[in-house]
């Protein structure tokens, strides 16, 4: 009898979730990147990253990453597992999401370069390998005729790859310094130069006109100085600015939150493709989980390029509706400001908002309509809040 009891106890212990300590990438109180030892909870395996809610695998494998793998991969797996758990807890504890509570285990793939194939799960290795990104894929039915089994929703983290910026044909940019100098040159400097020329012409053509020599020399000096600065700025930029781009998405907490938010919102927002709406909503919840209006910043060891900022003062432009601009932070900023107007229950407000929109909604049409409808239903003083929201939308040129 005693032996049986011990066996049963051992069995229960082996089947129940347990925790283990790992080093992960975290944020400090000042939102800086730090390394920290944390306990990973709800693990169901004693020797791999297989948990009750997440299984972390490498590439196309179905086996969870072992705790004996190399240090770099362990850091990624532990960081991803830790932040996914945090993101899930937010939706379960704070928003009481029944949908998230009922989700099946999410498979999370690290270091995968294959494109997503709706039919075959993974496209051929040679079909445009992907780096420096992360994505969430919809569940698939598989293809019985080709022995492709069905799969659930998955999160994929691409490996990082150093890309020289000169290999990207960057165009049409007003870089901060370059833009300022260019505009100043074009507007102010050319005007003063024209004034100087007209003064000179007046001196030659009008006997009564006396040229102010000091003023003329100042104009010429300033003009030459400005021209020199303009001509040399490319060299200055080249010396002082970054030349390489890379993104290790599995080590950036806000990107992990962003991807999980896609999963948590997928009962209404389809995961088939990126749009400004679906990305903006995921950004908003990533910001709330991170408790910060900035995403993927101050983490230059792992990300040298992208970063999103809800406090950026952007006005609406028609191109923000298009696919090409899906990952800019206009919708993120807009939702953040809407949240400030809504006040205390902003998180549940935003979660409710997903019911009013779809992945393909437009910003100017359905998103605005959805915000106002949700407010009519859920704002604490709907009339006043709706007026404030309309004012905000007007200021954003929406």
């Amino acid at each position: 009898m005693k032996t049986l009891l011990v066996i049963v106890l051992l069995l229960v212990a082996s089947l129940s979730a347990w925790s283990r300590e790992f080093e992960v990438v975290e944020r400090s109180e000042a939102n800086k990147q730090i390394f920290k030892k944390v306990k990973l909870t709800n693990l169901v395996s004693h020797d791999s990253f297989d948990g009750e809610y997440f299984k972390i695998v490498r590439g196309k494998s179905d086996e969870a990453i072992s705790f004996d793998e190399d240090r770099e991969l362990i850091l990624k797996a532990a960081t991803v597992y830790h932040h996914l758990t945090k993101a899930r807890n937010y939706f379960v504890d704070k928003l009481d999401s029944d949908y998230v509570k009922g989700l099946e285990k999410v498979v999370v793939r690290l270091e995968l370069t294959n494109q997503f194939s709706e039919l075959g799960h993974f496209a051929h290795d040679n079909l445009g390998p992907q780096f420096n990104n992360a994505l969430t894929i919809p569940a698939g039915q598989g293809m019985a005729s080709r022995n492709i089994s069905p799969w659930g929703k998955e999160i994929w983290f691409r490996p990082s790859k150093k890309v020289h910026l000169s290999s990207l044909d960057i165009k049409n940019q007003d870089h901060e310094l370059e833009g300022i100098v260019k505009r100043f040159r074009n507007q102010v400097h050319m005007q003063t130069f024209h004034r100087f020329l007209s003064q000179l012409i007046l001196t030659w053509t009008n006997d009564n006109y006396v040229l102010d020599t000091d003023s003329a020399l100042r104009t010429v000096g300033a003009t030459l100085f400005l021209e020199l600065a303009y001509r040399s700025q490319d060299t200055v930029n080249y010396v002082f600015t970054r030349k390489w781009y890379w993104l290790d998405s599995a080590l950036v907490p806000e990107i992990i939150y962003h991807e999980y938010a896609h999963v948590a919102l997928s009962d209404y927002l389809e995961l088939t493709h990126s749009t400004p709406i679906i990305e903006g909503m995921a950004d908003y919840f990533a910001g709330k989980i991170a408790n910060s209006p900035t995403l993927a910043k101050k983490i230059k060891k792992y990300n040298t390029f992208n970063g999103k900022d809800a406090s950026r003062k952007n006005e609406y432009q028609i191109q923000f509706e298009s696919y090409d601009w899906a990952n800019t932070d206009f919708v993120f900023g807009l939702l953040w400001q809407v949240g400030e107007v809504v006040g205390e229950n902003k998180d549940s407000f935003m979660y409710e908002l997903r019911q009013e929109i779809t992945t393909d909604s437009s910003i100017r049409g359905q998103l605005i309509e959805g915000i106002l409808t949700t407010c009519r239903r859920s704002c604490d003083s709907p009339f006043n809040k709706r007026i404030q929201l309309l004012k905000l939308l007007h200021n954003k040129k929406l």
């Binding site: 494109q115 997503f116 194939s117 709706e118 039919l119 075959g120 993974f122 496209a123 051929h124 040679n126 079909l127 445009g128 992907q130 990104n133 992360a134 994505l135 969430t136 894929i137 919809p138 293809m143 080709r146 994929w156 990207l168 044909d169 960057i170 165009k171 940019q173 007003d174 870089h175 901060e176 600015t241 993104l247 998405s249 990107i255 962003h258 991807e259 896609h262 389809e270 995961l271 088939t272 493709h273 990126s274 749009t275 679906i278 990305e279 995921a282 910043k297 390029f305 992208n306 970063g307 999103k308 900022d309 696919y323 090409d324 601009w325 990952n327 800019t328 932070d329 992945t359 393909d360």
Partner: protein
């Protein structure tokens, strides 16, 4: 007599609907087979493989057309396969443009592929992803339909398929710490 008439009409209606469903299912199966072959099996280098798959797809579509699949159904099916609804709506305009401008099949396929290559299911990603639209095969067949309607020339829809290497660019915009909004051409070689 009335009962008999009604029964005959019902039988015809059921037969028509089921025949329609069969051709639609056949098209979906043929399309999925082609997509699987070109995205999962094809090493992206063996051009003969590409040409063979396209020929086989075209002959299946021809069979379905012989069984009653109309051009309109073909176009509607293509639209239903484009996941991005805004792009799907744009397809109507695109087909009209091809017909009106009497584009050649090469011009038309370039125009259409460029329009819809981002419309397929690529997942929701953190930053812009140059996802390859993999419904190209179906499009090329439809291009044939649209080109024929416009009176354009070329062989894209006529049964001869060439996998032509093309250097294509996607316009991608991202935010950057230093530069603000940065747009650039993400260019690569592809074949259609």
């Amino acid at each position: 007599m009335f009962k008999k008439m009604m029964s005959i009409m019902l039988v015809f209606a059921v037969f028509t609907v089921s025949a329609q469903a069969t051709t639609q299912n056949g098209l979906k199966t043929a399309f999925d087979e082609l997509n699987y072959a070109l995205t999962v099996e094809w090493d992206q280098q063996d051009k003969n493989f590409y040409v063979e798959q396209m020929k086989s797809f075209k002959s299946k579509v021809n069979e379905l057309q012989a069984k009653g699949l109309s051009n309109k159904e073909l176009i509607e099916f293509a639209k239903s396969e484009v996941k991005n609804k805004k792009l799907a709506a744009d397809l109507d305009t695109a087909f009209s443009m091809i017909s009106l401008n009497r584009m050649t099949s090469e011009q038309a396929s370039e125009y259409l592929v460029d329009l819809v290559k981002k419309g397929y299911s690529t997942g929701a990603s953190w930053s812009s992803d140059a996802g390859v639209w993999i419904g190209v095969g179906l499009l090329l067949v439809i291009v044939g339909v649209a080109v024929a309607a416009g009176g354009g020339g070329g062989g894209g829809g006529g049964g001869t398929y060439y996998c032509t290497d093309r250097y294509v660019c996607d316009y991608v915009c991202q935010y950057d710490y230093y530069y603000g909004t940065v747009c650039f051409d993400d260019c690569y070689w592809t074949c259609y």
